[in-house]
């Protein structure tokens, strides 16, 4: 499997996915607890 960080587009997509994951964790686990 190719490392997404080897391309700019892969880096940006990984950053957006991480943003969504962290947002859901903060909203439903940390703030919602």
């Amino acid at each position: 499997m190719k490392n997404p960080l080897d391309s700019i587009s892969g880096t940006v997509v990984a950053g957006l996915v991480l943003t969504l994951a962290l947002y859901l964790i903060v909203k439903h686990v940390l703030v919602g607890a």
Partner: protein, 163 residues
């Protein structure tokens, strides 16, 4: 001294723009430019005159951003890093920024010193240093996306995105 948080926020933004602006410059401009410059033998102009200056402002802007951010958090510093209550969102941003600062000083800068010939290194060591520095820089670019999201929406604007 009500104006101090305003000064801290201002300093945090100015330093942060310098830091992340240079991070994006490295990833979007310098890396592809060096690839092309290496092919026509003009890379020395970048590695000798541009990269050391850019790295100087990059690493010290990272420190200034973190210090101004800590100053801005003030009494909420511990709550942010413990991800407590209303500080949870800005705390995630603060953790991401701290990991990025670590990457700058522990992974990017020491390896760039080898790549640019500021520290002695064999060709094999330089090749490893190039890969580590590139991946650390790309990791920081990836982390900057959620970091800026949580900085923008973390404390004063968290209600807008339901945090």
């Amino acid at each position: 001294m009500d104006f101090l948080p305003g000064i801290a926020r201002w300093a945090h933004l100015v330093a942060g723009i310098t830091w992340i602006g240079l991070l994006y410059y490295f990833n979007l401009v310098q890396m592809p430019a060096l690839k092309d410059a290496g092919a026509d033998g003009t890379a020395a102009g970048i590695t000798k005159h541009v990269a050391p200056r850019a790295l100087f402002w990059f690493r010290w802007a990272a420190v200034a951003t973190w210090v101004a951010g800590a100053w801005l958090l003030g009494k909420g510093f511990v709550d942010a890093f413990l991800l407590r209550d209303a500080y949870a969102a800005i705390g995630v941003g603060a953790w991401l920024g701290t990991i990025m600062l670590f990457n700058v000083w522990v992974l990017i800068w020491p390896n760039q010193q080898k790549i640019l010939g500021m520290k002695p290194a064999s060709d094999a060591e330089k090749a490893i240093a190039r890969r580590v520095a590139m991946l650390a820089s790309r990791t920081n670019m990836m982390l900057s996306i959620p970091m800026i999201f949580f900085m923008a929406n973390g404390l004063s604007h968290r209600a807008i995105v339901g945090l």
